[in-house]
């Protein structure tokens, strides 16, 4: 699946393991169920560990462990399901998570700027027109923002009374 990160398409350095598959030596992503079952074993591994949350899953039971993950993948079953945005916000704002947050699922062009502002770093994209637009650098979103966002890097705060106002550079 084409992976978009930091403004370009890159090859994926992570492998996603099925729950009963033996993990390879490199960076591996596991499900929440598998993590809960084999927490200590997984944390003892000598390679970066990632977590994938399916739609509807949240941080219950793993709050204390979130910072052990180098990547957390949030699933958007449909682009209209906005839960992942709040989860990403919480990861950044509440848990100080600084690893990679990845969106997978129904990722479309018109949500890209929202996703990036909500704290996502990387997007798995399968929609062809979205891939083309991203590759062409054609996906901008509106540059005036009326809210601080989980990820404001690249934004400036203009002078004035509204502390939440942001401008994309």
């Amino acid at each position: 699946m084409p992976l978009y990160r930091n403004g370009q398409f890159v090859s994926d350095d992570w492998s996603f393991a099925d729950d009963n598959e033996i993990l390879g030596a490199g960076p591996s992503v596991v499900s929440k169920a598998r993590f809960l079952q084999d927490r200590d074993g997984l944390l003892a591994r000598n390679a970066p560990l990632g977590l994938v949350l399916q739609a509807g899953e949240n941080f219950t039971d793993i709050e204390e462990d979130l910072l052990h993950f180098a990547m957390i993948v949030l699933t958007l079953p449909k682009f209209t399901d906005g839960r992942a945005y709040s989860l990403a916000y919480l990861l950044r704002d509440r848990y100080d998570f600084s690893g990679e947050i990845r969106a997978r699922g129904d990722v479309l062009r018109d949500q890209v700027s929202f996703l990036l502002r909500a704290g996502f770093d990387s997007l798995e994209v399968s929609n062809e027109p979205t891939i083309r637009a991203l590759a062409a650098g054609d996906v901008k979103g509106v540059s005036v923002r009326y809210q601080p966002a989980a990820d404001d890097t690249g934004d400036t705060s203009p002078e004035g009374a509204r502390p939440w106002l942001r401008l994309a550079r």
Binding site: G82, V142, Y146, P163, W164
Partner: protein, 551 residues
């Protein structure tokens, strides 16, 4: 009035361009209808029975003359020369071409208007008391806060794909003219005994299939915390609200299922984590936004209002107009004028282009350039000198706009219903027309007194029937239109959901049934001062049901 600064202008311009691109991609086939639908909905574009409908945001119902003229102009050039004012203080055009949308939105942007978030599962255009800044009973003007919330909610990266739509209403008076208790968030701006402003925050009200009255989460939240508190509510809702069933996806269901206590605890917990940070509204910002809503430069006037008094004595038609359509103003010698869009036999809430132009002219000449849209689907000139009213009245007569029925039984709220709306089960407008014709006699209307009659063409309740003193809901029974009556609803500070009277009535029977209800009230009221709602609350539903179904 709020005026855009350079950022606001840029925001709307860029958003308009972005949407124009989305329209182009749809027309070219790049976007499927399924992909495009949520995008167009975020910009107020529906596909209705006959054409596309464009819903234009009128933030908290406030318009300048220039803006109203622009709406008239768009109606004339892109639509069929009229527009429909809605119960959400917006304007809908019914006959718009998708291909024309970008051009229309670009024209709107010129007058600081747009259609952003007038539909879709996002935070909708914020509504407020239509008498804000003018009403004598106001504690503080709700519009600055509606504006602050509007900005914060615009293209919110976290809250643009909520489980369902989300509506916020703000009032600044104890008398609730904004129906805050039937909104997802209802805010009552109030002042404590230290003289500080704050909000009572209500959550989880709504109409639709499962009408619910909101729960008060807090009685006094310092005003500077309002964005953080709303942010907390929205985050809880976005994460926990149901997404498995669209009929159970509104926050009212979440509040109901969690319970008031647990909801409050969840919101307070989230609020505690974000309170005192970037979303705190700083005092200079409160002052800056408030300055936009400073009272107009009132003209000198004789507090005895001799012209107004003399006209009432000389002209009974004018006197009746003044009695019903003029509300007390803060400023001596001034009044708040309601211009009824409910002529007898006319579609409620519609205005033609020339009517809009006329009202814009009157506002410019007599009304400090300001017009409001009320959720009762009327227009309001919030600041007029009482002594100018006879001249205004004369012009309104020429324009077919002088109906003296504000708050009376023919001041009917009705949604577009099956004549326009693709979700409808039954027609609303023809029922409104027939009822208003039945009660056309103004003396009879005045004898009946205050009575809010509200009609929806389906259970979505855009016509607010649940909170009508008399509510009418259109249903489909084996392909035939039927109408269910609810009684005793109210959208004000004594909020109540109407009770279903009993079996529905056919289209032929419904007007007679309404008349039966009204006649029963007239017979049983203790005094002419006891209005319909008071009488219903005293009597209960039994005598009305008996008159409808037994007698």
């Amino acid at each position: 009035m709020y005026r855009y600064d350079e950022f606001d202008h840029r925001f709307v311009m860029e958003r308009t361009k972005e949407f124009a691109g989305q329209v182009t991609r749809r027309l070219s086939g790049e976007l499927s209808e399924e992909q495009f639908r949520p995008l167009r909905l975020m910009n107020g574009v529906y596909l209705q029975l006959h054409a596309y409908m464009l819903r234009i945001a009128i933030p908290y119902g406030t318009l300048s003359s220039r803006q109203l003229r622009k709406l008239a102009d768009i109606a004339r050039r892109y639509d069929r020369d009229y527009g429909h004012f809605t119960t959400r203080q917006n304007l809908q055009f019914n006959w718009i071409k998708l291909a024309d949308m970008p051009a229309i939105l670009a024209e709107l942007a010129e007058v600081e208007m747009h259609a952003i978030q007038t539909s879709g599962n996002c935070i909708r255009n914020v509504t407020a008391d239509h008498f804000a800044g003018a009403a004598a009973d106001e504690i503080a003007d709700p519009r600055p806060w509606a504006e602050i919330i509007r900005q914060w909610s615009s293209l919110h990266p976290e809250f643009s794909f909520l489980p369902r739509k989300f509506k916020v209403a703000v009032t600044g008076a104890a008398k609730d003219r904004a129906a805050i208790q039937v909104h997802d968030i209802g805010l009552e701006l109030k002042r404590n005994d230290k003289g500080e402003n704050g909000f009572a925050v209500w959550v989880g009200g709504g109409q639709g299939r499962t009408p619910m009255i909101a729960k008060k989460l807090t009685d006094f939240l310092p005003e500077s915390d309002i964005l953080a508190y709303c942010d907390a509510i929205l985050r809880v809702y976005n994460l926990e609200g149901r997404r498995d069933n669209k009929y159970k996806a509104r926050i009212k269901i979440l509040v109901h299922e969690m319970g008031e206590e647990e909801m409050r605890a969840a919101v307070e917990k989230e609020f505690a984590a974000i309170r005192g940070k970037t979303l705190t509204v700083p005092a200079p910002e409160i002052a800056r936004i408030n300055a936009y809503f400073a009272p107009p430069a009132y003209q000198l006037c004789d507090p005895a209002t001799p012209v107004f008094v003399a006209a009432q004595a000389a002209d009974s038609q004018f006197r009746m107009f003044a009695e019903r359509n003029v509300t007390p103003h803060k400023q001596p010698g001034y009044g708040v004028l309601t211009i009824s869009l409910k002529p007898v036999g006319g579609p409620p809430g519609d205005a033609t282009s020339s009517q809009m132009d006329r009202i814009a002219d009157l506002a410019e000449r007599y009304g400090h350039d300001e017009i409001r849209v009320s959720h009762e689907q009327n227009l309001v000139l919030p600041h007029v000198r009482l002594d100018d009213l006879p001249a205004i009245h004369a012009s309104l007569i020429e324009g077919g706009l002088a109906t003296a029925n504000a708050g009376l039984i023919t001041d009917i709220i009705a949604c577009p219903g099956l004549d326009y709306c693709t979700l409808a089960n039954a027609r609303s407008i023809p029922v409104a027309q027939r009822i208003s014709e039945r009660f056309a006699d103004i003396a009879r209307q005045r004898d009946i007194g205050d009575l809010k009659l509200k009609i929806s063409g389906c259970i979505n309740a855009c016509g607010h029937h649940h909170v009508g003193h008399i509510g009418i809901l259109g249903v489909d029974r084996k392909g035939e239109e039927f109408y269910q009556i609810t009684l005793g609803g109210s959208g004000d500070e004594t909020c109540a959901i109407g009770e279903i009277a009993g079996r529905g009535f056919s289209s032929d029977e419904i007007v007679g049934a309404v008349e039966t209800v009204v006649d029963t009230y007239l017979k049983l009221r203790q005094t002419p001062q006891e209005d319909f709602l008071a009488a219903y609350r005293r009597l209960g539903s039994a005598p009305f049901q008996e008159a409808l179904y037994v007698a």
